[in-house]
Symmetry: C2
Subunit: 345 residues, 2 copies
């Protein structure tokens, strides 16, 4: 697969966003989030998203000039109105509030409504981690997942993410896989997806990529995945007063704003023990996992974050591989705003 | 199956605990928690647990006199030492702190170490709900679950529970099923458990109840279930400074204290909107789920909490059914402390 350097990809994406009317500082924040996800190997949440953002911007369905505004701040709680701003800009602002409030009060819960897609939750949870805090991030999403026993989309992939000081980082959709994995298979012409990923549009399990793309994602493990998705929907959309379930739009479809809600929870570790001690305890716990004898057929026990850190080390060295379908979309997005594409290697 | 009234079961369990040296007020709190779980149909976390508590008490491995103590309180954070007290008494105390702090600061995070089994998390999360708050409760547990790709127990069933004002209540182990479901099958002589519940002791999936009982539980959906269990382990045991992973004991085995950690997170809904408005929004979200067309083979979409509320209505009316194996254990526990059993109906 052809590759591109972090620097070239970053410049290209920033230029595209600026070409679509996004102020420079917001283009930088947004691009940093997307490219970081490609670096981590989470291509579903990387620059694959940018062409959709451009669609939204050029259709005037996302407001590049809006900054969002604090509705209220009270104790550890902050309520934010995203005002249809870029999701990454809302998240950047909310993370700053969360870190500040957790420093003051030991904890923070920042909940934003009327936001847009903010890329991978892991990028934001790690902002809290960088401040010596535990960061928990959740968001609701387009209603492409049926509740357990249903056959119409009502919930999003509604991810749960937690980052901590120490070698562990969880960022998981509450479906078997993230929607972006099916989009990626579709964009890149793969005929089949694994069993357990999706239903067709009639609510019947399918492995056909076309049917899965037009169908729905499966909740993780059945009814428990639905329960977790509802937990996220309540903590984000119900609590924010924002759009929920079928009221939420989608970055891939025009005519409706996205209107997602996002939640940022920060815990100041130092209220319980020094951060160094906490970090050592996480390291000890991770070591206990890795010392586990492996099950038949496996050579190693990994913990959340391991695959992505390994991929990041490799991609920083060798560049970011870009699938043909994704690159074609990005180049087209560039053409729409008169930005020429750099060469791939 | 024979049944027993709530009143008779409550009196019997309180008497057994008092016979084992538990002060009256703690016996009442503990029994209320267990019987509530039977009422909800979650028999795995009901009076089935009491004989093990009695074993712990009579072996001097749990301290019926200890109350636990606050280590520190700072802003929204409270750090608690359970001092090996009854888990239900630790939880009762921590919930009171969580509700008080969330009223003062909008949020509370109470983390307790050196606790014991506290029954079903749902009972405690509902204490916050009763105060107009969102209650999130987690705890670590005996290391009977291998991390994904491992074949030795390193994590507990580590439940995630959330209760909110409104008709929805999540309380789920991060394994496919709670350990109590396998114990229940074992105690009651059922030869098989469903596929996907457990590994045998070599790390190979099994449906044989004996092998499952001696083996290990499966993480929910594979690596994501392991990730969620680690999230719980970190928020409870790492943050509390308590026992983690293989340092944790088990109520079914003597010679080692249980030493679990528990986390109680409370959010004061009123900081975001009036509780009535929040409740109406939860009701609306639940109605959106229930209006979903059903998948082939299903007649209804239910949400978390539905099956238990229905069972509770039925059992309050007709009494609590008690399986032979569970009753035999409870009667034996009574005999150990000279408390006679009431008659079943």
């Amino acid at each position: 697969m052809p590759t591109i350097s972090v620097q070239n990809l970053t410049q290209f994406c920033e230029a595209i966003l600026q070409g679509a009317g996004v102020p420079r500082h917001k283009a930088e924040v947004t691009t940093a989030c997307l490219v970081a996800s490609n670096l981590r190997g989470v291509d579903s949440h990387g620059i694959q998203l940018l062409p959709y953002y451009v669609d939204q911007l050029l259709a005037n369905e996302m407001d590049a000039q809006a900054d969002g505004a604090v509705i209220s701040e009270s104790g550890s709680c902050l309520h934010f109105d995203g005002q249809n701003a870029l999701g990454q800009w809302v998240a950047e602002t909310c993370c700053e509030h969360a870190v500040r409030i957790a420093r003051e009060n030991g904890m923070a819960l920042v909940v934003a409504k009327e936001s847009n897609h903010f890329g991978a939750a892991a990028w934001w949870a790690q902002k809290m981690r960088a401040a010596g805090q535990i960061g928990i991030v959740m968001c609701n999403a387009s209603p492409i997942v049926p509740p357990w026993q249903g056959r119409e989309g009502r919930l999003g992939t509604n991810p749960i993410c937690m980052s901590v000081p120490g070698p562990w980082l969880l960022d998981m959709a509450t479906t078997t896989v993230a929607a972006g994995k099916i989009f990626k298979a579709f964009l890149n012409g793969q005929p089949e997806v694994p069993a357990g990923w999706a239903f067709d549009s009639a609510g019947v399990p399918t492995t056909d990529t076309q049917s899965a793309y037009k169908g729905m994602l499966m909740p993780l493990g059945g009814y428990k995945g639905s329960g977790l998705a509802m937990m996220v929907e309540i903590l984000c959309a119900v609590l924010s007063g924002g759009a929920m379930s079928t009221e939420v739009g989608a970055i891939r479809f025009r005519g409706k704003k996205v209107r997602v809600s996002q939640m940022f929870l920060a815990i100041d570790v130092a209220r319980f023990m020094p951060v160094d001690e906490f970090t050592a305890r996480v390291e000890h716990l991770v070591a206990l996992m890795k010392s586990t004898a492996t099950a038949p057929g496996y050579g190693e026990v990994m913990v959340a974050g391991d695959p992505e850190w390994r991929t990041e080390a490799e991609r920083r060295k060798n560049g970011i591989p870009i699938a043909d379908g994704n690159w074609e979309q990005l180049v087209k997005a560039g053409e729409r705003v008169q930005v020429a594409a750099p060469a791939l290697q």
